[in-house]
């Protein structure tokens, strides 16, 4: 009894101290000077632009990495080919490499003086210090999540359902769309949540590639830092609360879209 209580206290205490308390304090500080002040802080043009940019970038990254992630997982689980181990290792690169390094790497490749960057600039496409660069950086850092969530699910469901579908006349695409995808959707959904969370929260890579131009290339996380640096504490806390709320909303959405009765 005492042992169980101790364990429970330990687990909850750990969470409270390291997670709930700091996040809670952000909420407290935000509304300390009243709801009006907080609202004013997040509806400033620069804040609204940062929010919009964050949502846009996250949306693109989630869509891109979900499509790529599912395809990649199918290839990894269902196909056998040379270089499979290499692909598997490469997929974890974004987790291993610091985002700052990712930002720098992108700067080198897409900077105006580089080959690729120069070529794109001639076409009128600006990557560095602009939205495409932020999207690229965000895709990079949030790449592995869908793959890593889908691979084990795909492995677990096996190939029998797919084979059954094919003997019933379904083409490869029909089998994927009607049988495989519904079977792995829980894994995909969780992967999307993680990708979304990572995309919204990304700071390091974006802070380098974006140039932090207020009202233009500032995402919410950059905006938080910016207002912190300029002693706009309410603005800083309020933007943090918005970040937290987006994350909570994403989690709730996934829970709502959980499959009906299965297991």
């Amino acid at each position: 009894m005492i042992a169980r209580l101790t364990l429970r206290t330990l687990a909850l205490g750990y969470l409270a101290l390291l997670l709930a308390f700091p996040v809670g304090m952000v909420f407290v500080r935000t509304f300390e000077e009243g709801l009006g002040t907080a609202l004013e802080a997040v509806t400033r043009p620069a804040a609204l632009h940062a929010l919009w940019l964050t949502l846009l970038v996250a949306a693109v990254a989630v869509v891109a990495n979900t499509v790529f992630g599912v395809i990649c997982a199918v290839v990894l689980v269902r196909h056998n080919f040379r270089g499979k181990a290499l692909l598997n290792t490469l997929l974890d690169l974004p987790l291993a490499v610091s985002p700052v390094v990712v930002g720098l790497a992108l700067l080198i490749v897409y900077g105006r003086t580089s080959l690729v960057g120069g070529w794109l600039a001639e076409l009128g496409i600006r990557v560095v210090f602009s939205t495409p660069g932020i999207i690229l950086a965000t895709i990079f850092v949030s790449l592995p999540f869908v793959v890593r969530e889908v691979v084990p699910v795909l492995r677990e469901i096996g190939t029998e359902q797919e084979q059954a579908a094919s003997t019933l006349g379904a083409s490869a695409f029909q089998t994927f769309w009607l049988v495989t995808l519904p079977a792995i959707r829980a894994g995909v959904a969780y992967g999307v949540v993680l990708t979304m969370a990572r995309a919204i929260g990304e700071f390091g890579a974006v802070s380098i590639i974006s140039g932090k131009l207020s009202g233009r290339t500032e995402t919410l996380t950059i905006y938080v830092e910016d207002s912190f640096q300029s002693f706009d504490l309410v603005g800083c806390y309020a933007a943090s609360v918005v970040l937290a709320l987006i994350a909570i909303a994403t989690l709730l959405l996934t829970n709502l879209s959980k499959p009906r009765e299965e297991y």
């Binding site: 029998e160 094919s166 003997t167 519904p182 079977a183 009906r260």
Partner: protein, 327 residues
């Protein structure tokens, strides 16, 4: 001819799964592919369905060559050992799957699915999910799903293998009845000789990727081609180089004919049948099958000395006795 398989070979790396296998399944028949695990029977079935690609050989379904036709277009219904139910679909949606793919009208689908669910005795379950069904019910659903698209042939891969003994017995009787009703050419894979003998008109007995013998259940039992067949189809004793069925051993209390002396080691009462384990004077062991009545009439008990006479024994030329399963 319903299904014709000609000279099929298949390797998985170094492992030879099938070697020059040729089989025919007559129209409307129920053929069993019987054999121990690793004998290649499941691989052969999957090759017929197009789920596995053979290295060599040809496949015909109703005299139409299907060797290089993808599974979608072979016109086979396939039932898997572990059901392969679409877990996210209801029973109705599972059975309707093939019809939906074929873009049949909704009314027609509803009608056909209802008909099939009745046939497999699952009417009233159409809105359930597979997880809410028992194993036996799931397998019947899988069978209805396979039958929905009116396959030319039905392929069953150890369909009762994952079920407990009692349900297996029930489904066996039910399947035999169903087959009489719908008369679709069927191949059943099983490792259970009793199941094969009870269900099939013809048994193809396989071992190590080759066919040992093809024939009716009676044929295989009475005229086994070799030791392997004799040992796999029904119980057997080995005495020196010859083989004898336990029911071909007669036990008496007095010496008779060319009988030999034996001692009763053990007695097992298995309902109607009594299993008598004996040891002969020369140290060889064998067991005999007698009825309860005989056993009590003879007053058999452990340690008793009796006289046994072997009525039929079989000896085979070249020995493959190593592959004989232990009795």
């Amino acid at each position: 001819m319903g299904i014709t398989v000609r000279d099929i070979s298949k390797r998985f790396g170094d492992f030879v799964a099938l070697e020059d296998v040729s089989v025919q399944a007559p129209t409307g028949s129920l053929t069993a592919l019987l054999g121990p695990s690793g004998s290649g029977k499941s691989t052969l079935l999957r090759v017929i369905a197009g789920l596995e690609k053979q290295d060599d050989g040809e496949i015909f379904i109703f005299d139409e060559e299907k060797t290089r036709v993808p599974p979608q277009k072979r016109g086979v219904g396939f039932v898997f050992q572990h059901y392969a139910a679409f877990k996210h679909m209801t029973v109705f949606e599972n059975v309707a799957f093939g019809l939906k793919i074929r873009k049949r009208k909704k009314v027609e689908i509803r009608h056909r699915v209802r008909e099939l669910l009745e046939l497999v005795q699952l009417d009233g379950f159409s809105e359930r999910y597979p997880a809410q069904l028992s194993g036996g019910q799931r397998q019947r659903m899988a069978l209805a799903r396979a039958l929905a698209v009116e396959p030319e042939v039905l392929l069953l891969d150890e369909p009762f293998g994952a079920l407990d003994a009692r349900v297996r017995q029930e489904l066996r009787a039910w399947l035999r009845q169903l087959h009489e009703e719908i008369e679709v050419t069927t191949i059943l894979v099983t490792h259970d000789q009793e199941e094969a003998m009870e269900l099939a008109d013809r048994i193809v007995l396989m071992n190590h990727g080759k066919i040992e013998q093809i024939g009716s259940p009676q044929d295989l039992y009475e005229n086994p081609a070799n030791e392997f067949v004799m040992g796999f189809i029904g119980p057997v004793n080995r005495l020196g180089d010859s083989y004898v069925r336990p029911h071909d051993i007669e036990i008496r209390l007095q010496e008779f004919g060319s009988s030999v002396e034996a001692m009763v080691d053990h007695l097992f009462y298995l309902g109607f049948e009594v299993r008598v384990e004996l040891s002969l004077e020369d140290g060889q062991h064998l067991w005999a099958q007698v009825t309860r009545e005989e056993a009590s009439h003879l007053g058999l008990e452990r340690g008793k000395t009796v006289h046994v006479h072997i009525h039929h024994s079989k000896a085979f030329g070249n020995s493959v006795a190593d592959s004989l399963p232990k009795p």
